[in-house]
């Protein structure tokens, strides 16, 4: 086990070194991470003001809180593994990873967590600034604060594993872009990014709840905003745990099948 701890610590150092090589692009990337939710925020605040101060159960300032929290939740849970995997398989870089006596997913998780740890403080400062500017306010109950960390951790793991599994499509096709695109559109609508799920039609909400999407982004936001009862929160954590098991299985099955293809065809 200590072997894995060392691996994660070393990967953190490596990721840090890499990120500091590209400070400018890191900065630009962060602007993007901030800009997207701010655009939604401005749009919905405007709609809300024109409708007399609220849309559905969201007031103008609640929209501000929602999208600022969304920015942070997205930051914690988002991955770029699909682009990465396609590149790796195309370039035959996977061969190098397969020669190593460790499953390549460990390096990916470690790299992902590392870059988040590095960017999170900056994002927190930005979030605080945006919160002041848009007069956002959140008042979650104490139990919700306690459940936020496990909820975020589970959301990250499930999102990471699902996207890692989907990224394995690169074993079968060199055009992962299409799958990628489909996934991102579903994610945009069903995870609560384009609009809070509570504002979407009933069937869409049901779909988002039945599929993993709500649990990856929408659920942790609702928890932080204090919009859930304790019972709802516990059901949410249960759903996340269920999806965790499912996504672990999925990773296992797809990885093995993918390797069979890779080792049959080569690259």
């Amino acid at each position: 086990m200590t072997g894995f701890v060392r691996l994660y610590v070393q990967q953190f150092r490596t990721t840090l070194a890499t990120m500091f090589q590209y400070r400018a692009s890191l900065f630009i990337w962060m602007i993007g991470q901030v800009l997207e939710p701010v655009v939604y925020l401005v749009v919905w605040s405007t709609v809300s003001r024109n409708q007399g101060g609220s849309v559905g159960s969201f007031s103008t300032t609640e929209f501000a809180s929602y999208y600022i929290v969304l920015m942070l939740v997205n930051q914690v849970t988002y991955t770029w593994i699909m682009y990465e995997m396609e590149y790796r398989i195309r370039q035959g870089m996977l061969s190098i990873a397969l020669l190593k006596p460790v499953h390549p997913i460990h390096s990916d998780i470690a790299d992902n967590v590392s870059s988040k740890l590095i960017t999170l403080p900056v994002m927190l400062v930005i979030a605080a600034g945006l919160g002041l500017f848009f007069r956002a306010a959140i008042a979650p109950p104490l139990w919700a604060i306690l459940l936020v960390l496990p909820a975020l951790f589970l959301a990250f793991l499930v999102r990471f594993l699902l996207e890692w599994a989907l990224a394995q499509a690169a074993f079968w096709t060199t055009r992962v872009g299409a799958i990628n695109q489909l996934y991102f559109v579903l994610m945009l609508f069903l995870s609560g990014q384009i609009a809070p799920l509570a504002l979407l039609p009933g069937p869409v909400q049901a779909l988002a709840t039945a599929l993993p999407f709500r649990w990856l982004v929408g659920f942790p936001i609702e928890l932080i905003l204090g919009r859930l009862t304790l019972g709802e929160a516990l059901i949410g954590l249960g759903a996340q745990a269920g999806w965790l098991v499912a996504s672990l299985l999925l990773v296992r099955v797809i990885w093995r099948a993918g390797l069979r293809v890779y080792s049959a065809v080569g690259a």
Binding site: L7, Q10, T18, M93, I96, L98, L99, K100, P101, G266
Partner: protein
């Protein structure tokens, strides 16, 4: 041709009847053919490796030769666990490579001259440190190996420069070091000197010999540079179109396949009729290159010296490339 497979008591690498068949879908030219291709692809089977067998003893350096597409890389990939064979058996250090057991992976390495494991944007030392934890190399061993590799490959300041700023040769040295940090007992080298200048090739060659000597590592090497093979490998395995053509000593291969010698005669000009002595390959500034049957070398040399105002004369074996080419041309024994 006698294929000399000396039985090896406990080989590092043992390959028996290894085959790898790729299924390739054919694409035809033209729009209607492309449309048909959407519905049903024509598939053909290509045997990249077609039933080869050999064994390599611990500590041996073997040259693995063959023209492009002969199946060398495919074989190396099967031996290092990247590819499943279609059929046949492979045993490397007692493991079945494609099961990719960690204990196996910790004892082998594959260096591909055209693939990089070094992280591009940061100094190579980061990749080394990462490999240290991935292979669970104790810190002391790591330091010792690092200082040995630094000395042998003259890595010095290279380790702290971003990899993207290294020259091809410098990068290759670091690649090799990264691949050998865990001191593998079996080393597969696929074109380790490709694209490097002569000095760097020589350096890498000397290093491979030294690594083999110091750690008694088994080395299987492919290269298109015959100088690599000549200086490193006493034994060569030659494959062509997936078949084994030759397995034995390089020296006896040369013996068997050199039916001719080259005689270089320096005369005043190119006017003399040399055809009666042998096949004239070329003449430039009075420098004739003759090709004569091996058995007649002495007699022809004597006659040329007696008949002509010779300034200088040289008898040479044909270059090894030519010999190998002849082996391929024969398409097997």
């Amino acid at each position: 041709m006698p294929v000399s497979i000396v039985p090896i008591a406990s080989p590092s690498i043992h390959v028996r009847d290894l085959r790898k068949v790729y299924v390739v879908s054919q694409m035809e030219a033209g729009a209607s053919a492309a449309l048909r291709g959407l519905l049903r692809r024509r598939k053909t089977e290509v045997a990249a490796v077609d039933g080869i067998s050999f064994a390599i003893a611990p500590g041996e350096i073997v040259g693995f030769l063959g023209p492009n597409g002969a199946g060398k890389t495919t074989t190396l990939k099967m031996l290092s666990g990247l590819l499943h064979p279609t059929s046949g058996e492979v045993d490397v250090l007692g493991f079945v490579p494609w099961q990719r057991q960690p204990a196996f992976l910790r004892q082998v390495t594959l260096v591909m001259g055209q693939r990089n494991q070094l992280i591009w944007d940061i100094p190579a030392v980061h990749t080394f440190e990462l490999n240290r934890v991935i292979y669970r190399i104790p810190l002391e061993d790591y330091r010792r190996t690092m200082s040995e590799l630094t000395e042998l490959l003259d890595l010095g300041t290279l380790l702290n420069k971003p990899v993207r700023n290294l020259s091809l040769g410098e990068r290759m040295k670091c690649e090799i070091a990264a691949a050998l940090l865990h001191r593998p007992q079996v080393v597969f080298l696929d074109e380790p000197t490709i694209g490097l200048d002569v000095t760097m090739q020589r350096r890498i060659r000397a290093f491979i010999a030294e690594y083999n000597r110091r750690f008694a590592a088994t080395v299987l090497l492919t290269s298109h540079y015959m100088a690599d093979v000549e200086s490193l490998c006493r034994r060569v395995v030659i494959i062509h179109r997936g078949h084994l053509l030759y397995d034995g000593e390089l020296a006896s291969l040369l013996q068997q396949f050199t039916s001719h010698k080259t005689i270089v005669v320096q005369l005043g000009d190119c006017t003399a009729d040399m055809n009666k002595y042998g096949e004239v390959v070329s003449c430039e500034d009075g420098r004739f290159v003759l090709r004569v049957p091996k058995a007649e070398t002495a007699r022809v040399t004597e006659r040329v010296l007696a008949d002509l105002p010779v300034i200088d004369l040289l008898v040479e074996d044909p270059p090894i490339e030519e010999v190998i080419e002849r082996v391929f041309a024969q398409e097997g024994p």
